[in-house]
């Protein structure tokens, strides 16, 4: 799940690019090129999000039930802007689309900003906690407020997470990371001098706020209290600097985390200061996958409650109390054997389509354009 999360954050570069359609591109043909460069990749992000959802359902049904059914509005808004995205590439330039290209591009912008930001905020709650209770006996009438097992205790249903500064920091960090990755992707992908030059500048313009927000979130989280689980009694309690200790107690996670961060920084600074360097997206992309994966592992491993309840510690979700049965997890592991095969054909398809860089001419000659 952590790896899927890492891949998803990397692929959010599509959303990052969507949030810059108005600022990075100044002419109509530039906009069209950007839309087409992103439009050839949006389905990967979308599919990864859907798979992430399905895999969460299969692996941690109690998270699915608690978070989606509880942080209702946060998820609904997030999903809603992905709904708008799904039609926008195909519809925006088609005659007869009723609302005009501007509206569909506004949808893309909305998805670009909200999709990344809200996902960051929701992931931050893995460290900061949410307001819910879980009572598995409720369905048998043991609870005091109906049959529902997981109940959100804040009427804002997830929007209250926006009032937490630390959540906002990760939300903004993910937004600026996605924009940085998008800029790196454009540098790598486009055959368009003006856009490439501008994208290099955008790498830095977005890379710096990303670093800033990410560091604030990281340092704050490392120094804050975390949600520890007693391995014997399963009692959840607050522990000072829990996440810092998780890093220290799992040195391999820390090593990979640092490696990931270094790769992201290398991608950003090499691209900014070396005008010939175009492979920044691969360094920063791989770095993002590794960093996010490690961060998610820190949220759940080493006797930690990965989806904590801030109002009732004992309702917090741990890997053990919220996961599927061993049988289902084994079945899912067998299905995961397909993953290398899937990666192989994605690499084939990506390679087959990317042999040539994308310039204005290809938009007309490739047989399908947005």
């Amino acid at each position: 799940m952590s790896l899927l999360g890492g891949l998803l954050v990397f692929l959010l570069f599509v959303q990052g690019g969507q949030s810059m359609l108005g600022s990075l591109a100044r002419q109509e043909d530039e906009k069209r090129l950007l839309i087409n460069a992103l439009g050839r990749k949006w389905e990967y992000t979308f599919t990864t999000l859907v798979t992430f959802g399905g895999a969460f359902f299969a692996s941690f049904p109690l998270f699915y039930s608690t978070s989606f059914g509880g942080a209702y509005w946060a998820w609904m808004i997030l999903l809603f802007c992905f709904v708008l995205q799904a039609v926008s590439y195909e519809f925006q330039a088609k005659p007869g689309n009723i609302f005009g290209p501007g509206v569909y591009r506004a949808f893309l912008f909305l998805n670009g900003v909200l999709g990344t930001f809200l996902l960051g905020v929701l992931v931050a709650t893995f460290f900061t906690g949410s307001e819910f209770t879980v009572g598995k006996g409720n369905i048998a009438g043991l609870g005091s407020s109906g049959f529902v097992i997981s109940q959100w205790q804040n009427p804002l249903h997830g929007l209250e997470s926006l009032a937490n500064l630390r959540n906002l920091c990760l939300g903004l960090a993910v937004l600026f990371l996605a924009r940085t990755l998008a800029s790196l992707y454009f540098v790598n992908r486009l055959r368009h001098e003006v856009l490439e030059k501008r994208s290099r500048k955008f790498v830095l313009y977005n890379g710096i706020p990303f670093l800033l927000f990410f560091l604030v979130f990281l340092i704050w989280t490392l120094l804050a209290e975390g949600y520890a689980v007693d391995p014997v009694t399963k009692v959840v309690s607050l522990e000072d600097k829990k996440y810092l200790y998780n890093f220290i107690e799992m040195p391999w996670v820390m090593a990979f985390f640092i490696l990931g961060v270094v790769a992201v920084l290398y991608g950003i600074f090499q691209t900014t200061f070396n005008q010939r360097f175009k492979k920044g997206i691969w360094f920063a992309g791989a770095g993002t996958v590794v960093t996010v994966t490690m961060l998610l592992l820190v949220a759940g491993l080493n006797n930690t409650a990965y989806y904590p309840s801030s109002i009732d510690l004992q309702s917090s979700l741990t890997l053990e109390n919220s996961s599927s049965s061993e049988f289902t997890l084994t079945a899912m592991s067998v299905v995961s054997l397909f993953v290398p095969f899937i990666i192989a054909y994605i690499i084939y398809a990506w390679g087959a389509l990317e042999k040539k860089k994308l310039g204005m001419e290809e938009l007309d000659s490739d047989g399908h354009a947005y």
């Binding site: 798979t51 209702y72 598995k136 006996g137």
Partner: protein, 523 residues
């Protein structure tokens, strides 16, 4: 049930129905078109005839417009299991989540990866690689249908699981029983052939319009030929798999079958209502009012189709509620009241088990667990109030079923006639047939929606047959929140549907590329 007002449940139900209904406008067309495109492109690669390439690419454009909106409505459905049905998600997520995840891993990536090669690869990969990509898009879409229907079928016929009183959920114990359940593969085949049918009627109808307008005649004839073949196979197979599905319904969801037929009092050698008008004066299942105003019945056919025996007893609504008849396995059917008592016992035993475990009274817990297991097959009945709660909306189920079957029969005839006229090379000049093909397009979409209405309205009140009613499945989200998202989705989906329809009409009016494509110009 303070938090969970019935109103919230009904809005959640309405929202799911709305999303599923919209999603199912686009999915069958996507899968049907994918098959038709793949066949056309195969002919192109085999013959090298550029005309087939033009034909393929035109339908690919229509596919693309439709594919996007299918995805848009699909993502909401997946997450709605969590947002709207969170209790359900925990109670059976151990089983239900797996097919959804497998759908993502195996089917969606295949589809999403090769759809980009299909769209953008005409000049970037070889002809054969492109053709393979088109077939893989079709395969991915079909596999996706398979896994989601495995999930749906499991709700209608829950097997391969065991209830765990510690985790308070059902856990999977037999993956293959879930995946290969007879309900699942019948449903899968029936749904997939309905996609072929919808895609074919759409292509035939649009081609009919070109013929009426005398535009792109050769292209239209090419298209209508493939569509008619796919359509005939699709509709004939719908009849075959429909029979399989009805047989499964008779065995596993007798109340649904009774509602489909408007059958209140069962008998041996029951006939099939070929055509009927229900009596609105029938208010109670056990009043003496005749359920029909008029009906035309084929004798003994329902017994034959449902139980493969012309003299078999088919229970009606009243029988199922009152019990006492002999089941196919020789045992006597329990009444609703008996099942309710057992269901309540099971729920109480679960509560007692939980308390006993909490207090460390393991011997007591074992006793409660034994009671729970003994009565678990009736668990969901413990949440229902009266026998009437077991009855789905009979008129909706009845009319949807009968209309669907009638439309299906009409299409078999239509495609036979189309193939005959194509064979005789008279299609070009037969305007009435071109009109019929064109105006039949909405009928295939309607039939396809009606099929889902039968399946889903007919299984009410159950989310999971006999185990969990809809009222207990929902999330603790107030009606106000759900109404807001319901309105939001209604507006957005309707707006997008209108936009999609007008874009498609524009593309159709524009027609295929001119022949021959001198420089592979796409758009």
């Amino acid at each position: 049930m303070d938090l969970l007002s019935i109103s919230a449940v009904n809005w959640a139900r309405g929202q799911f129905a709305l999303t599923a209904g919209y999603h199912w406008i686009f999915v069958p067309l996507t899968i049907g078109l994918a098959l038709i495109m793949a066949i056309m492109e195969s002919i192109y690669v085999k013959t090298g005839d550029e005309k087939w390439k033009v034909t393929t690419r035109f339908w690919q454009k229509i596919f693309g417009i439709n594919f996007a909106i299918g995805i848009a409505t699909g993502i909401i459905l997946e997450f709605q299991f969590g947002t709207n049905w969170s209790n359900y998600s925990w109670f059976v997520g151990d089983i239900f989540g797996a097919p959804l995840a497998i759908e993502g891993i195996i089917a969606f990536f295949l589809e999403a990866t090769f759809v980009t090669v299909m769209f953008f690869g005409w000049n970037r990969v070889s002809r054969k690689a492109h053709l393979l990509s088109t077939w893989l898009v079709f395969t991915g879409a079909t596999l996706s249908a398979f896994w989601i229907l495995v999930a749906n079928a499991w709700m209608q016929y829950p097997i391969g699981m065991e209830f765990n009183p510690d985790t308070v959920r059902n856990e999977m114990v037999d993956f293959w029983a879930v995946t290969l359940s007879p309900v699942a593969y019948n449903k899968f085949l029936h749904a997939v052939f309905s996609c072929w049918a919808v895609g074919a009627s759409f292509v035939a109808g649009v081609s009919g319009w070109y013929l009426l307008k005398k535009r792109h005649v050769e292209f239209a004839i090419q298209s209508i030929k493939i569509a008619s073949l796919v359509g005939l196979v699709g509709f004939v197979m719908l009849a075959v798999t429909g029979d399989g599905s009805a047989y499964q319904v008779a065995q596993k969801q007798p109340m649904k079958l009774a509602a489909m037929e408007g059958l209140y009092t069962g008998k041996e050698g029951t006939g099939l209502v070929a055509f009927g008008v229900l009596n609105p004066a029938k208010k109670e299942y056990n009043d003496d009012v005749n359920p029909y105003i008029a009906k035309v019945e084929i004798p003994k056919l329902l017994s034959l189709l449902g139980y493969r025996n012309i003299n078999a007893f088919v229970p009606g609504v009243k029988d199922i509620i009152e019990g006492g008849y002999t089941l196919p396995d020789g045992t006597t059917a329990l009444s609703f009241e008996e099942r309710k008592v057992r269901g309540e016992k099971a729920i109480q035993a679960l509560a007692d088990y939980q308390m006993a475990m909490k207090d460390g009274r393991e011997a007591d817990a074992a006793d409660h667990e034994a009671i729970l297991r003994e009565n678990y097959a009736h668990f969901g009945y413990g949440y229902l109030e009266t026998g009437a709660d077991l009855i789905p909306h009979v008129p909706i189920t009845f009319y949807s079923f009968h209309l669907m079957v009638m439309i299906g029969m009409f299409f078999i005839l239509l495609f036979v006639v189309l193939l005959y006229y194509l064979y005789k090379k008279k299609m070009n000049n037969t305007r009435w047939l071109q009109y019929v093909a064109l105006w039949s397009i909405p009928l295939s979409f309607l039939a396809s929606q009606l099929g889902w209405i039968v399946a889903e309205v007919g299984r009410q009140p159950w989310t999971i047959q006999d185990i969990m009613p809809v009222e207990v499945s929902a999330s603790a989200v107030s009606a106000g929140n759900i109404i807001t998202t319901f309105i939001l989705f209604s507006l957005v989906f309707t707006g997008l549907l209108i936009a999609e329809a007008t874009i498609m009409v524009k593309q159709i009016k524009k027609g295929p590329e001119s022949l021959p494509p001198a420089d592979h110009t796409g758009q």
